[in-house]
Symmetry: D2
Subunit: 205 residues, 4 copies
């Protein structure tokens, strides 16, 4: 799989390292602040740039007619609609957290919520102090999934911003005399790169 | 729902209290050491007696032609076969842990294991110091479910016996740089009674 | 040790049961809404009534000249001063959380804070949905102790209100690449009675 | 502070990086398999080599008359005695885990054990699958500290070996209806380097 990376921030660079050290092929890493151009051959685009570049990124993928994995968050409604419309013509996947563990956590939480209807539910998340948005995008996605079986479910949510923590998410289901907790710990940001590659490969299959 | 309880140990008495304080109707609590007899009307039988009474319990349920929830553990192969055969004629459910949370935990663990194939897996359990078997029956069921998607999966298991802890079970999925933990805490044994009632109600639906 | 209990709410009744089932002697349980009177002999007074009775309780203890353990919270400044003044004549102890574990947790947190100066700190607490104040009194005491070595320390605090949880408190110290967590779980309110007895015994020694 | 590093393994290299990126000065990193020689000026020696080099390292420090922090483990009794004797002439500190959090954890555990005499105690530790010794040296030190107030205290200990976990240690104090847990998580081995520098600075003060 030949991978083209969009964005040149921390996550793009981690992904570049991971691709180089894998059986996949690194093609190029392109800053999306300028025009996005690439004359090399590639199989898939992984976007770790910034939601502000979303439209440009989608246009580029359509022009090249290649599968696009969007791993940025914070898109405006307008940008989300742009992605949705492009899906009619192109293989696009938008994932707020590419870690495999968080993917499973979301599946688990959907399942648990559909059965534990009477349980109180809370989401806790801890991230490094440089993270500006709160609650995290992943926490919001978890809440969405908790509410899938009951949209009126009240979900308490708590955030902490501590030192350099890569990301801890916990969902607590609590009823009279029993507690079920599901907790994901990201030890480093490398897992988001590893997960992105898995998602990209699935898009090609 | 009119509930007939079999057995007169700690769990049967907790269940009796729970039924009395609910919208359901408590019919009777019968010691299974003697002949099981009951002339009152009831809708469902919940068995918290002892696996040694299994055959007698099954015979009684068949005679009365009423749904039977078996919540005892430790059945011999012979007793298990007896239950299986009776299922041809009768609505029987055998559950090793009636807590709703543990039921969900098992479903979750099956789902997680089928996706997180490359993750290392461990089970931890903590119970009160009077508990003799180790690992707990619930831990063994969790391991069974972890292995459902890969019977050769190695699962580490650790047990602690501390003070009067009702039951804590944790499953840890660990891969490079990420950890997913699923933890169930039973705060009191009442949950096993509450769960039994839910299972019984489902059998009637 | 002959114990006189003041107050007749949930905690007073739990304490009564605990004393009766111990090697100590239960003397009486007195409602503080009326005049506090007792002609029986006793060695120590444990007050689980209500902060509104504080002055009456203190006067009674001074009259009887017996050690007084005050286990109620929410005292006004005026009531606190009344206690402080009475301490000149009488052996009085005021404890916001009589659980032995929480006492140790506070000692631990003072020690840890004094060494881990550069760590970010947060307090999390979870209680049942009937608890009105948030954060809990115990969380506030923990924060006070964290700030003892540095009054300008910023301490994040998060509260959840879930089902019937008796009380979970966690203090998180987080620095670059390491986390130290101290967590106390109250499984039932009985521990507050057990702890009160231990404090009372210490007062007599 | 001018730091001379002994040893050239993983930890020595991490320490080198940390010193270079700090306000301290990196002097040199010396392989202890050869003769230890250094003509440059330095203020402190940090030894992350191997216990087999202990005597050579001590001799070198005495000759240079500079404070020595020994951060290796597994010393024989003979080597320990050699260190003890050298302490008469030289400022030497031997630490089995230089993480500041683990230092505090040990202090905490000593304090908690001395008060929570009747609590059951257990130690859990999780490390990467390449770690051969089990329980970990840090777990053994924790148990030693737990036993300081009561040498006959029974301490249960559990180990798990999962993926690439840097080191998780938990001490559980459990009594009737309450649990106190103290947990340390090392997110990367960098903390052992950061801690070593703090210890070294303290030696100079």
């Amino acid at each position: 799989m030949r991978v083209l990376i969009l964005g040149n921030g921390v996550m793009s660079n981690i992904l570049k390292d991971v691709v180089i050290n894998s059986s996949d092929t690194f093609v190029d890493m392109i800053d999306t602040k300028e025009n996005i151009e690439c004359d090399l051959d590639f199989d898939v685009i992984i976007d770790f740039s910034n939601h502000l570049a979303t439209k440009k990124v989608v246009d580029f993928a359509i022009m090249k007619n290649k599968p696009l994995l969007i791993a940025t968050t914070g898109q405006t409604e307008d940008e989300i609609k742009y992605i949705e419309k492009a899906k009619e013509k192109l293989n696009i996947l938008k994932i707020s957290n590419t870690s495999l563990g968080v993917y499973v956590m979301n599946e688990i939480v959907k399942l648990a919520s559909s059965i534990l209807e009477d349980f109180d539910v809370a989401v806790e998340e801890i991230h490094h102090t440089r993270k500006l948005d709160s609650p995290s995008g992943t926490a919001l996605t978890l809440i969405e999934n908790i509410k899938k079986s009951n949209e009126n479910k009240e979900v308490q949510v708590n955030s902490l911003r501590l030192s350099n923590i890569s990301g801890i998410h916990k969902v607590i289901f609590s009823a009279e005399d029993e507690i079920l907790e599901i907790k994901h710990t990201a030890i480093s940001r490398k897992i988001f790169a590893l997960g992105a590659i898995k998602y990209a490969r699935k898009m090609l299959d």
